[in-house]
Point group: D2
């Protein structure tokens, strides 16, 4: 569900994960209650009730949440630490700061800006970075800063350094909205925040370049798109969301690309929304989406 | 998820609902823990965290569940009673007993029998009742008793009496798998178990008879089916599941009916499975599906 | 398939309809060939091969089409007239002129403007008319004129007169992109071009106002949208396209409305594209979509 | 559209393909007309209107079709031969003879038998061949012969020889309904009829064995199935149809397999129906589906 800003006041999100064992749910629920929280939603998943990994997401309302956060954090450490669990406590009234990186294609970029303007994405957008300038005017018409960082030549080091300087300390996550440059392992080591990418294909099929041409050549009857976290293994990061659209023999590769654009923007938008709402937990090369 | 019989041993399902207030989740979780249960899944929903209605479904594993049930029931009464909550505790290793009522169409009936044989529906099927005989041989080939109760003339009283005698004490719910007779209010008053119906239309559009002809005449581009609980208001009961399929100008009403049959059997099967797994909670004229 | 402007040069669209009889396909195909046309696509449908209504859409390429049009028109009259058929011949390189009427909601409006800018809609947009001003800046940033025609009071006559003056002679069809004013029968009599509306519901369910609230109250599991031609019978015009999205108990009416917005813009865009490409033929209260 | 047997009387299907050139449509339409045929449906596709490959499917009604077939064949040779086109003329009132090969899984097999019994598949089923016996009773209850051909040991030569003897002269195409044996190149060389396979995955992802386990490991959010013609390149034959279902983190590999079964039977059924109705044309490693 979309949670609008006004509705997020005093609302906390607690993510808990670790080895499953009896009593965890009770311990977390009791902790929330004794800290004067009222649970709004609660989702959980265990890879195996006996000896598996346990994941839980709890949203609760607690008057004067900002003031109470340190105390709740202390209680979490005292309660969950001995159980070997890990946790993250977030104040949902503080929107995440999202940077968007794009190239010439505007469909994913504009979709995110437009959903943000409608109040549907609980984020701020401190910047859009592109290696092209064609979308600058559109971006700025949304009141959002646009930075042009060209990707000159095969050595992307200078460009990546500049992007890292722009992002440093300013963002909580980055969305690659059809950013058509390879991200180096060094960049990923240093950026310090998660990156979400939209792959214009139904992964793991048609990895790499020109997926719509490959899809046409293989004669598939469905085309798809995949939103995933970026890891050093290109196209291999944890998948957040996927969807498809029908294709027929009559579609050219260009037709597939045009139709695919609509799948891409929808899939990326859902993935971004879920990430912004703290609904996605990474688990090895997979995701739990609550 | 399908829960196979062997996996349901010592597994309980607890449904709780009532006025939302802080501490309920903690109270339920603590109750499960102190009764040596290990929570496997937990779903909850509140119509409004402040003063709304609260609904929760908890599946937990408890060794020797059958023996412990009375004690857990006692604890529930002591714990939830004072909070004004209602609850149902079910031993999931005991399959529900499902009767199917059908007429000449076999697609919904056979789908249920076939899924049951595959071990996907956690039910027993003590009987199939039909006002026709054409499916008798098929039903019996699945090892299931078939009873023919003709619907002679406009007065259905005698037929309904016979059906009530067959069902009495033998079933936990009834599925109308394209049973083409009106169910009387008196029957509903006396049957004492829930009835699930499949309506061959996307309710609330095209209520009543001949929905595919009406859909063709209206020129719709999608046809649908709706599974719902039966109430005295024909076609107005709480909806459990719906789905659609595309329609074009080239489809005749007969084509729509043939395509619709595939939507009907899928929608009804999902609704039956969810009901059998205690995932559906009625709430006025709506359902909560966990 | 999207047909891009450059690809539409010398491309004609011939729509033929009338009583089905043997030899029509051959007569049309021979006519195209003897006028030096090369058929690119051909679709046809008959309500009944014996005595039904026949519909055909032929796209063909003919060098110097603009020059040849009068001659082909003459041949059509000589060939199809005696067979009792009706026809329309269109030069697809001439984009249709589309006006958009909107109110405060911008999702359908912006989607059309953006698809148009991407070159996916083969239309020109001479104007956007709104009874509000909030979208003026956005519309003009696309280089498209925006006219504000307020709907003051219950008597809409003056406003409709002004709209008719703006449209007269300037447009080939009008799209109501969430235009929240009732269109009078007098307006429809005089406007002289087709109007396409997006209804924020799965017609014929939830006709009229507040469909998302009604959908929530009825507890449906799918919400939908319907694009249709406007007739004097409100919400009863021929349906061009429909689609749905899943709904759950956890969605509020506001959530359904937010999700519905994405279905609406997709459904309306497809309907507009098909109309612009001459793929939709009205047939009584239904449509043939090729 | 499903075409029921009675509706197929005197109905012919003409498939034409070859180099696209102006006048082909007119030539075919004129041929049908002068042979007293009335065109019911006509579909066509060209990879490129200038110099591409042309494909056309025409269904027409011709009184006393069986008697007229040789004469129409002669006309086709005289008309299309000089144009370098290839063609196939089929009497649609003669159902194709379809053999089904299966192993232990029954979901695809039973779905085909049941659709056939409903009169939805325009085929006869002279035999079901399996390397297991568990489905024998079910198959025979549909009145269809069941042949058990065990696959003993690594050398499949003897088994394939026996299958070839059973099929020889008796069938027009073969459906592999989850037949879990590798088909040898020699078998394909000698069988002389097309084979349709259902691959329990969204090809080209997860080719080979255990696709549901691979899908679970990769953490995909959609699972799929693919029906394709069998070629010597395993899993690489021309795709006829594909579809998907949603998957979540909560699904086990077994859950995915259970859900996948429903996608498989639907995808295979559509592919078989289209093939039986002569709607699928192979074109290199792709298919045209009209």
């Amino acid at each position: 569900m979309a949670v609008h800003t006004e509705a997020r006041k005093d609302r906390a999100c607690l993510i808990v994960h670790g080895p499953d064992k009896p009593g965890i749910v009770a311990a977390v629920a009791a902790l929330v209650t004794r800290n004067q929280g009222n649970i709004v939603t609660l989702d959980q998943y265990s890879t195996d009730p006996t000896g598996g990994d346990f994941f839980q997401r709890v949203e609760f309302i607690r008057p004067d949440l900002a003031v109470a956060m340190p105390e709740i954090e202390g209680d979490l450490a005292a309660t969950l630490g001995p159980l070997g669990m890990q946790w993250t406590l977030t104040d949902l009234s503080v929107p995440k700061r999202m940077a968007i990186m794009a190239s010439t294609s505007d469909h994913c970029l504009l979709e995110l800006l437009w959903r943000h303007r409608r109040g549907e994405l609980p984020v701020t957008i401190p910047m859009v970075i592109s290696n092209h300038t064609n979308t600058a005017e559109d971006v700025r018409s949304f009141g959002i800063p646009f930075f042009h960082v060209p990707s000159a030549g095969p050595d992307k080091t200078a460009a990546e350094e500049e992007i890292l300087r722009l992002l440093a300390g300013n963002v909580d996550f980055v969305v690659l909205a059809r950013y058509m440059q390879i991200i180096s392992a060094d960049f990923l080591d240093r950026v310090g925040v998660p990156l979400i990418n939209i792959h214009h294909s139904f992964l793991p099929a048609f990895i790499g370049a020109a997926p719509y041409r490959k899809a046409k050549e293989r004669g598939v009857k469905l085309i798809g798109a995949t939103a995933h976290y970026v890891t050093k293994d290109l196209d291999e990061g944890p998948i957040i969301e996927q969807d498809v659209a029908r294709a027929t023999h009559a579609h050219t590769a260009a037709d597939l690309q045009a139709r695919g654009a609509y799948v891409e923007r929808a899939v990326l938008s859902r993935a971004v929304q879920w990430h912004a709402e703290d609904r996605v937990i990474r688990h090895g090369n997979q995701t739990i989406v609550f």
